[in-house]
């Protein structure tokens, strides 16, 4: 070695290095493909045996990963990387091309516009087709809202029932108790869902004008949050507050479910209750305002 010229030695060394390096990458790629193959066979076996989610995931990882790692390594270390250079072609067309394009466009447009009456007729026909076919299509998707957002299934005298349809008695709840109720005949309804709370045994007046609404300490509020419509499902007995778990609005039960915290803009509507002669809880009337989140037509 010592007798060779520096250049020759350099070139030999480089070649040796490259050979070693190449062989190493060939091995890496080969092993990747082999692992992938084995994992794929394993995947087939696992699947055939009835499947197992975690094993499938792990084997898919090896099968796909081996393939990917092998191909990428091959493409990165065993084929020429350049760098190569390529000129960008001008994106913009020459001025003459653009002028010719505009001329062609105008020539055609002029040929059409000469018959201006026909152009108007065409416009009318296409416009009418669009309007007449599009609007009924949208319209047939659903009914007009009309009074939909103003009414629930609560009526004068509706008995309060649980989700299973059984009627609620005035003796059903202890103080601090809470129950989701529905109007008789509509258990489980998404719009009429109401939360019944009993903060005390005494009649409760939440606001002036609601003197008779809370007999024997029973209060009923719409369970649909006035913010985004989630069920106001959590009652904190200690603070006598209702919490909406979606966006954390808090409503104060004793003062008419006024929002005391969070993004809810309005109190939950209160359902006026009475206890009938057999001891069942009933609604004096339906809600006196639309329940749930706001909408355009709603005035206040």
């Amino acid at each position: 070695m010592s007798s060779s010229t520096p250049e020759l030695k350099q070139s030999q060394d480089k070649e040796r290095l490259i050979k070693v390096s190449e062989r190493r990458f060939e091995r890496v790629v080969g092993v990747s493909f082999l692992l992938s193959f084995l994992a794929t066979v394993g995947l087939g076996v696992v699947y055939w045996q009835g499947g197992q989610t975690q094993v499938e995931g792990a084997l898919l990882f090896i099968a796909l990963g081996g393939l990917g790692f092998g191909i990428v390594s091959w493409g990165k270390y065993l084929v020429p990387q350049g760098p190569y250079v390529q000129e960008r072609e001008e994106l913009q067309s020459p001025e003459s091309e653009r002028e010719a394009f505009v001329e062609s466009l105008e020539r055609g447009a002029n040929q059409i516009q000469r018959r201006s009456f026909l152009v108007k007729m065409l416009g009318a026909a296409v416009g009418a087709f669009g309007i007449i076919t599009l609007f009924p299509f949208i319209r047939s998707l659903g009914p007009q809202p009309k009074k939909m957002l103003y009414v629930t299934n609560w009526k004068k005298g509706s008995a309060l029932v649980k989700a299973d349809g059984t009627k609620v008695r005035a003796t059903d709840l202890e103080v601090g108790g809470v129950l989701t109720v529905f109007p008789d005949g509509h258990p489980g309804g998404a719009i009429s869902q109401t939360i019944l709370i009993r903060p005390s045994f005494q009649d409760i007046v939440t606001k002036p004008g609601r003197e008779t609404w809370g007999p024997q300490g029973y209060l009923a509020y719409s369970k649909v949050c006035t913010h985004a419509g989630c069920p106001v499902g959590l009652y904190q007995e200690l603070t006598q507050q209702l919490l909406c778990p979606c966006h954390q609005s808090l409503f104060d039960v004793m003062t008419g479910a006024n929002p005391v915290f969070g993004p809810a803009p309005r109190p939950l509507p209160q359902l006026p209750l009475y206890i009938d002669s057999q001891g069942y809880l009933r609604a004096q009337a339906g809600y006196d305002e639309p329940i749930g989140p706001g909408f355009w037509e709603r005035g206040a």
Binding site: G50, L60, A228
Partner: protein, 554 residues
């Protein structure tokens, strides 16, 4: 050489020219260009796993009594959508892994789009002539978020059902037409029995078809305009320097599909996501505590929590409070996003075309605005877990909410200011961004240390890529076609490509501007005590250019 199929196609379609150009297309090579690829590959995986899911999913709200293999829900009444999702999770072979891969791929998809968008933003890749692709990409992001929400809603579990309820309220909140929109979309009052089948049609047909079209346009425009590139040796506004499509880029990009798929498969198989059987079927009057939507909806959820309870009432009408965070905010977000190339241009008055990318530090204003906006959405994202944070850190909800309401206005300007200063600082550092030579520390056999400015990254390059040349050259076929002189790279034994036989010795200056700074190389000559260690010391035989070392050997 002539192949039959090539002649067949070329005689009929004239494909040879276009396909030749495509094979010889040059792609600049940089890791940040793979972000968009991750998004695209996730989309393919979503299509594949999604088709599988459609074979088993029943898009129906019709009630059914469950008698499947998941015992805790046996005998429960639930929608067919929920029951069939349970069924495909537990009773269809590989069903759960496919479902979880689908869900993970959706999360990765949106994440990759967002990071890709940030790369394009911070490097100024959206500037002329690429504004159209910026618009197409923004549309794809919007659709991806919507598509993700729709898919999340389909299983009809307790959490997704609550999400649909919120979506109904948001639709309702649109001024003037809201109640009509909601009634038409849901086929009447919430919940009705039409929303699951409708979401299904939109999720598996309508939006994927539009997205496939937009993705095609996105790629076609990119292909036609050619990729942007970072500044570097030999790179100008008028050329593209990189690897050839065939075979290097095709192999790297094609293989990368499998790598993306393998990670998603590992997540799908090993990391549980959306275990709907633990949530139970959707029952409108039930609700779960501490639930968060998928991550890409987090900013909207956070905005819903933070926005004050303001409701505008007057003239017999109402603009509900959620209109502002849930309709107006996304509208402004995507409006500004799409308008950004024109907004920026109004200030820069720059009407030039740009193919060279900017380093974020080269444009402190844009960088600081981007960082500020990012910070704003990050705060909103974290605000979507106010309840969890309050619980975890034993704080009152009141405190956490108000903290976020303040932070959402305080953090973004601070972040923007810091980003601006950092960018300016980085720019004013002499030689920032230019390659520095490594300092090499030598230890003599006697234990004496000397430092020397490095030579050569040659061996580092050799170690990493055998087939890496020096000067950018045109591909031989392209040069021939364009009547240029064909510069054949020096081929040695037809295996490796070097521009000059002395490549190894001259690499130091030529490797040129790499974005990274210099690094210290600690090298101990062979034969010295403790030899064989040290960073970058190759295990194999070393090139003779290692000066001192080879002296030792002789």
């Amino acid at each position: 050489m002539s192949y039959k199929p090539i002649d067949f196609l070329d005689e009929r379609l004239g494909t040879a020219k276009f396909t030749r150009k495509s094979l010889n297309k040059i792609f600049p090579d940089h890791w940040s260009f793979m972000l968009g690829e991750i998004a695209m590959y996730s989309f393919f995986i979503l299509l594949g796993t999604g088709v599988f899911l459609t074979l088993f999913f029943v898009p129906s709200s019709a009630p059914t009594v469950y008698h499947g293999s998941y015992a805790p829900l046996d005998g429960h009444v639930m929608s067919q959508a929920y029951a069939s999702t349970l069924n495909l999770s537990f009773n269809v072979r590989a069903g759960l892994v496919m479902r979880q891969m689908h869900h993970w791929a959706a999360n990765v998809f949106v994440a990759a789009i967002v990071v890709h968008l940030l790369r394009v933003f911070f490097t100024g890749a959206f500037r002329k002539p690429r504004e159209i692709n910026w618009l197409v990409g923004s549309l794809l992001l919007m659709l991806a978020i919507l598509e993700g929400f729709l898919g999340y809603s389909l299983p009809d579990d307790l959490i997704s059902g609550t999400g649909i309820r919120i979506a109904y309220s948001i639709t309702l909140s649109v001024p003037v037409v809201g109640s009509y929109l909601a009634s038409f979309l849901f086929g009447g009052q919430f919940p009705g029995d039409k929303i699951i089948p409708r979401f299904y049609t939109i999720h598996i047909l309508l939006i994927p078809a539009i997205m496939a079209g937009l993705l095609g346009a996105h790629l076609a425009i990119m292909w036609h305009q050619k990729h942007t590139q970072y500044k570097g040796r030999g790179r100008t506004e008028k050329n593209v320097v990189g690897i050839a499509f065939w075979p290097a880029y095709a192999m790297q990009a094609g293989g990368f599909f499998f790598l993306t798929a393998s990670v998603i498969a590992a997540l799908g198989g090993l990391v549980q996501i959306n275990p709907i059987w633990m949530y139970g079927p959707y029952i409108p009057y039930k609700v779960s505590y501490a639930v968060q939507p998928d991550w890409y909806m987090g900013w909207l959820d956070g905005a819903l929590r933070l926005f004050p309870s303001w409701e505008i009432v007057g003239f017999g009408h109402m603009i509900p409070t959620i209109f502002f965070p849930a309709v107006l905010l996304p509208g402004i977000t995507f409006g500004l996003l799409m308008a950004w190339p024109w907004i920026e241009r109004r200030f820069t008055k720059d009407s030039q075309s740009h193919n060279l990318l900017e380093n974020p530090r080269d444009n402190p204003w844009r960088t600081s605005i981007g960082v500020g906006v990012m910070a704003f959405y990050m705060v909103l994202f974290f605000a979507s877990s106010t309840d969890v944070l309050a619980n975890t850190f034993n704080l009152t909800l009141n405190f956490v909410l108000w903290a976020f309401r303040i932070l959402v206005f305080v953090i973004p300007p601070i972040a923007a200011f810091v980003a601006y200063q950092l960018a300016k600082e980085a720019r004013s550092v002499p030689l920032a961004g230019t390659p520095r030579k490594a300092m090499v520390i030598f230890r003599s056999p006697g234990g004496e240390y000397t430092t020397e400015e490095s030579e050569p990254r040659s061996e580092l390059v050799l170690k990493h890529s055998v087939f890496h040349g020096e000067e950018p050259l045109p591909l031989p076929e392209e040069a021939r076609i364009h009547g240029q002189e064909v510069q054949t790279p020096v081929l040695e034994e037809e295996r490796f490509v070097f521009s000059a036989p002395s490549a190894v010795a001259v690499v130091s200056e030529e490797i040129g501007e790499r974005p990274s700074g210099g690094s210290g190389v600690y090298r101990i000559p062979r034969g010295a005590p403790g030899a064989g260690g040290g960073l970058f010391s190759p295990r194999g035989p070393r090139p003779a250019s290692d000066g001192e070392d080879s002296e030792d050997e002789e």
